[in-house]
């Protein structure tokens, strides 16, 4: 097989894997938008906050240590424990539930019936507050995330493709793990929303707030639940991205990678987020591979948006989004 074709195949497979990572971030946006019509600007910071909390809890870091030491003249930094990864993940999920409750209690509850733009602006404020709060709580240093995720080239794929084609494909074990986790997450979310009472209530709220309220569904409970689920999705995204680069403040910028995915897949569709992520991932990687070298490279950031715009022109609601029909 021609070398160029094999390389393109490798690039495409890696694009699919990258797309899964983008989709993980986009999922959090979709969940909240679907249930409450809020475009959650803070989703990227939630991923950062969740990942920082996970590492902090796992490594036994004292939260607000710098503040405590400054006020009380102490010198405390560590509790002296190291938690098992599963326990740290569980505790972090608990923190994200508490966070969801606080958001509902102190922000959303006061903004019921406000225009969408007000809710959007509230999430901008929330994002910047959380960034500062995370800094105060866990510090700005780069934290190593070690929960036993595999990393590096997958030897089996490398060897098998080498034996078949004479060229070993590079697929990162971390990307494979992310794909499996994302698949499990999507299945769990679909099962939850289709087959549980709370899931059905969530869908009812997404369809029509007023109708849902009239049949006794608690809007507050649903919002806490949705933000909790989005918080958990943010934790998963934070783990996967944090494992690549260490947990640091630039993690909040992964939200930028989700925007074209949302434009393409639609803001209201979980399958849309996945398919959108895959199309963006493959599209940007193949474009960089085929066209990038001829035009100076670094095309991925902007080409993802070009791709999304092309889809938008033909399907403004996104690939899987719901067409909005407003009756006068």
């Amino acid at each position: 097989m021609p070398e160029q074709f094999l390389w393109a195949m490798e690039v495409m497979l890696n694009g699919l894997m990258a797309g899964v990572l983008y989709a993980l971030v986009a999922l959090g946006f979709v969940l909240i938008f679907k249930a409450s019509g809020v475009f959650n600007y803070a989703q990227g910071v939630m991923a950062l906050f969740a990942a920082m909390t996970l590492v902090g809890l796992q490594k036994g870091q004292v939260p607000f240590a710098h503040l405590i030491n400054t006020i009380f003249g102490t010198d405390v930094h560590k509790f002296g424990w190291e938690l098992a990864p599963w326990l740290a993940i569980l505790l972090t999920a608990g923190v994200m539930v508490l966070f969801a409750w606080l958001v509902q209690r102190f922000i959303l509850q006061h903004l019921v019936n406000q225009p969408d733009i007000i809710l959007f602006m509230a999430t901008i404020g929330l994002a910047y507050f959380m960034e500062g709060f995370a800094d105060l709580m866990w510090g700005a240093d780069i934290k190593t995330l070690d929960i036993g995720l595999p990393q590096g080239v997958n030897a089996w794929i490398d060897e098998t493709t080498f034996n078949l084609f004479g060229y070993g494909f590079f697929i990162d074990n971390l990307d494979i793990a992310a794909t499996i986790v994302a698949a499990l997450l999507v299945v769990a979310l679909v099962l939850f929303s289709q087959y549980t009472k709370q899931g059905r209530a969530m869908r009812a709220v997404a369809d029509d707030h007023q109708a849902a309220l009239s049949v006794g569904i608690s809007l507050r409970f649903i919002w806490v639940m949705v933000w909790s689920v989005a918080g958990f999705v943010a934790l998963v995204a934070g783990i996967m991205w944090g494992a690549k680069s260490g947990v640091q403040f630039s993690l909040s910028l992964i939200a930028l990678k989700a925007l074209p995915v949302l434009m393409l897949g639609g803001f209201t569709s979980i399958p849309g987020a996945i398919v959108g992520g895959l199309i963006i991932g493959v599209g940007e990687k193949l474009f960089e591979f085929l066209v990038g070298p001829h035009i100076g490279g670094a095309t991925e950031n902007w080409f993802a948006y070009v791709l999304a715009l092309i889809f938008l022109v033909f399907r403004p609601q996104g690939l899987f989004g719901e067409k909005i029909i407003e009756r006068v």
Partner: protein
């Protein structure tokens, strides 16, 4: 009556203002928040702690206390310019922007305002030509010198011949990252190596395409001009594709503990340039501990001392203090003005003896600033990461850059700047 009140108020303001005038004001355009906070914080801590040491141990510079004005830029150029505008009226004698983008914006402003700017190891490379850039200093080294030192190190590794070899430059797709390209192109012509350019978009969290290309094309060496998360991801990806770490060399902004720790054991052997020593094995750190940390006056938690970026901030502060001292000697005033500070910088002589006397023997290269040369001698060393010991080991002496190639480039670029901005170069003879 009104006039009398005004006169009293004016007199009171002058009286109150007098102590402030007695201070030497150094603004610190820092970034402790945002995506680059992990790098900005240790530098800002080192910069602040050295000034605190001078105040606490020596009572200031020549009896004048230092007042540090820290302003948060978030590594954002617009905010950096706002910081400059909001602090210059406080009597600032020197700006340390800690960002190439901010430096570029401050070059015309600070030159017009008559306040010197120091961008050591970053900023506009051709500012090394003091005849054109009267107010801008980038000693002890700059990006073009850095590129040349990296190639010289590779020449050493390859027995002096790199013709036919391929060297890839993985760079932050910004003004900073593009700085070494011209130099490397010239060096490629001179030494006969092939140069492959691999830009990475901000912030650099996703680099799969670039590393797949490196895996396919197998360049003999990879140079990196990265910053922030780009560095950590690059080192991780290099480890993933099993690229030999000792053939992967970063510029000094890609060579801190932050950059390698996330990769764990796989970052072992990675190399980076530096223009000062890592670690805290210097007498000055005992004083930092005694007068700053133990006294509860450290800028941070005290846990960054001896790290590469803390040391760089400390080094920048030390150079600022020594320039201010020189300015005091030249002018005969202890309360120096920005213009006198500039004169001090232009006459700075960082000898081995002076650094030893400061408790920093061999910490940085010895160099002398002149009217024509604001860039120092460009010496840099190579350090290598030891993942087991979790420390950088210095593996070369200070290496001289290839001035035969670099100097004409500096002349050419600064002449173009002078022509664009109607600047008549000073006569430095």
């Amino acid at each position: 009556m009104k006039l009398k009140k005004l006169a009293v108020a004016a007199a009171a303001m002058v009286a109150l203002g007098a102590p402030a005038m007695a201070e030497i004001v150094f603004p610190s355009l820092s970034y402790r928040t945002g995506p680059y906070a992990a790098n900005g914080t240790p530098f800002a801590d080192g910069y602040a702690d050295y000034f605190t040491l001078i105040n606490e141990r020596d009572g200031g510079i020549g009896g004048e206390k230092i007042r540090l004005l820290e302003c948060e830029t978030g590594y954002n150029t617009e905010k950096g310019v706002e910081c400059y505008e909001s602090t210059k009226g406080e009597g600032a004698v020197l700006y340390e922007p800690l960002s190439t983008g901010i430096t570029y914006q401050l070059i015309p402003k600070a030159s017009a305002d008559g306040i010197p700017v120091h961008s050591g190891g970053y900023g506009r490379t051709s500012a090394a030509n003091g005849a054109v850039f009267k107010w801008i200093f980038n000693y002890p080294t700059n990006y073009w010198y850095g590129a040349s030192v990296a190639i010289k190190h590779i020449l050493d590794q390859e027995g002096g011949d790199i013709s036919g070899k391929t060297i890839a430059l993985l760079y932050h797709n910004s003004a900073y990252g593009k700085e070494p390209i011209r130099t490397l192109e010239e060096l490629a012509k001179k030494h006969g190596f092939n140069l492959t350019l691999l830009p990475v978009d901000h912030p650099g969290q996703e680099q799969k395409s670039q590393w797949l290309q490196i895996r396919r094309e197998k360049p003999d060496y990879v140079l990196m001009w990265g910053w922030g998360v780009m560095n950590q991801v690059a080192i991780q990806e290099a480890a993933n594709i099993r690229y030999p770490m000792d053939h992967f060399i970063g510029i000094w902004w890609s060579g801190s503990e932050n950059d390698v720790k996330a990769a764990g054991a796989k970052g072992d052997g990675y190399k980076a340039l530096s223009f000062h020593m890592p670690g805290s094995d210097f007498p000055v750190f005992d004083d930092i501990q005694k007068y700053v940390v133990d006294a509860g006056k450290a800028a941070g938690a005290g846990d960054q001392i001896g790290t590469v970026l803390y040391n760089r901030g400390l080094y920048a502060a030390m150079l600022a203090v020594e320039a201010a001292r020189t300015a005091q000697e030249l002018s005969g005033n202890t309360r120096i003005t920005p213009a006198e500070m500039r004169d001090g910088m232009e006459n700075l002589d960082m000898s081995e003896e002076k650094m030893a006397a400061l408790g920093l023997p061999g910490f940085g290269p010895a160099f002398k600033v002149t009217c024509a040369n604001h860039g120092g001698n460009g010496l840099a060393l190579v350090q290598q990461w030891d993942a087991t010991a979790q420390k950088w080991n210095v593996i070369t002496d200070y290496i001289e850059p290839d001035l035969e190639v670099i100097q004409p480039l500096i002349e050419e670029d600064s002449a173009a700047f002078a022509a664009e901005n109607n600047i008549t170069p000073r006569d430095c003879n």
